[in-house]
Symmetry: C2
Subunit: 228 residues, 2 copies
């Protein structure tokens, strides 16, 4: 369960201030599948970075399963992230000098509770579920844009998170591959994964049950998605 | 005018070979606006890198305005690129430690023929045409994904190229911003710019006059776009 109250995020650029988030109030229950939409620069990635415990709001409160995230120290916040979250970054953020397989295995190797008996097998399985079984040994710069995006998706899912935060996860994918990825997210959501997806594509939002729209750092609409 | 004949591109990965392009035959006339579509990994970016004189095919010939590009040395190829081409990369490829304004001005500062009397003014104009007049001093990591994409677009257009190669230029843009960018490309095409756009979105392809589809490194269809 995610609860944001009056979240604000300002950035200083020279003498100017950019008000990227201007008082966000948002509650997401376990098992929801939510689309976050809005124009370029409206604050979607900034919102995702807050939800992902990767960035500190300027003010406001953020509760994740009842835990006040801002009260935690860096280590405790990192543990919370590793235990509960999967994050697909808008820019993928893959490690450049490691293969697709290693990129996906890494979060499991860092798991403090050593929850994963066979990281190698699990990483292979995650990559084949996104159609990359024949690209395990490729470095990121030996992969197409959509293949890099799918490695980022596999990496986010391999630790069996409770909450998946995906920032434009299908932006570099053709429609067929998009359908495969969204079907995978929906199946995991049916099994209990809470999913928040930033997207600017209506057909991706159509897979979600709720759609939240941002404009200039504020939520301007928040309503259920009408199934087609 | 672009002419590719039996273009092949192989990549070696360990002992394996990836046949990214398997005999591409393609002719594009001046003033065309062509969409390149196809599934993730089908060879679209590899094709664009060949057209952009950024990559050498394994075999086949490439004529750009009658010039055999493969016969040129590196300097001559670089001059040809700077004189004639604008390239929007799928991953943007902005310089991380320079501002939006500097990123856009750079190609003009490197122009051997010093064709541009006032690079600063031209860069400002290009950035405001993509809606970024208030982001000139931001570094790439102080910009949203779609804003970085628009800086890459502005940079590709500012040298007044003859041929624009844009690899998924709207992948990170909401529909309103996408319409603005495609209207800009169409207006420049009306004025004589030859445009080749990789896209996986049908509404983007709808702005083009011809659609070429790749699958597993081959062209599987090539036909006019029926206006909606
Ligand atoms: N440097 C490289 N070394 C090895 N294989 C490569 C390299 N670059 C690309 N490939 C492979 O070549 C194929 C074509 O890649 P390309 O980037 O052209 O695809 P694409 O059509 O642009 O895909 P996307 O829509 O995902 O961007 C892919 O299967 C990719 O894994
Ligand atoms: N580090 C930063 N410093 C200054 N301004 C920033 C920084 N990061 C983001 N911004 C600004 O904050 C605003 C919101 O950015 P954000 O990345 O959240 O937008 P977004 O909705 O994800 O956009 P897109 O759809 O283009 O990815 C933008 O106008 C951007 O220029
Ligand atoms: Mg974003
Ligand atoms: Mg590509």
């Amino acid at each position: 369960v995610v609860e944001l109250r009056d979240i604000r995020r300002d950035y200083a650029v020279g003498d100017a201030v950019v008000h990227a988030l201007r008082g966000i109030n948002l509650r997401i229950e376990r098992g929801e599948m939510v689309a976050i939409m809005g124009s370029s620069g409206s604050g979607k990635s900034t919102l995702m970075n807050t939800l992902g415990c990767l960035d500190h709001p300027t003010s406001g409160s953020f509760l994740l399963d009842g835990v006040a995230v801002e009260a935690l120290d860096d280590d405790a916040r990192a543990d919370l992230r590793n235990a509960k979250l999967g994050f697909v970054f808008q820019g993928f953020n893959l490690l450049a000098r490691t293969t697709a397989l290693e990129n996906v295995a890494l979060p499991m190797l860092y798991d403090r509770h050593a929850r994963f008996a066979d990281p190698d097998a699990r990483a292979r399985d995650a990559l084949s579920r996104v159609g990359l079984a024949d690209r395990l040994t490729h470095l990121p710069n030996e992969l197409s844009g959509g293949q890099q995006q799918r490695v980022a998706i596999a990496r986010a899912l391999v630790t069996e998170p409770k909450l998946l935060l995906a920032d434009e996860p299908t932006g570099n994918l053709d429609s067929h591959t998009t359908v495969e990825v969204m079907a995978l997210f929906q199946a995991l959501n049916d099994q209990g994964l809470t999913v928040v997806i930033v997207t600017h594509e209506d057909e991706v939002a159509a897979y979600c049950k709720r759609s939240v729209r941002l404009h200039d750092g504020e939520i301007v609409s928040d309503h259920p998605v009408v199934p087609k």
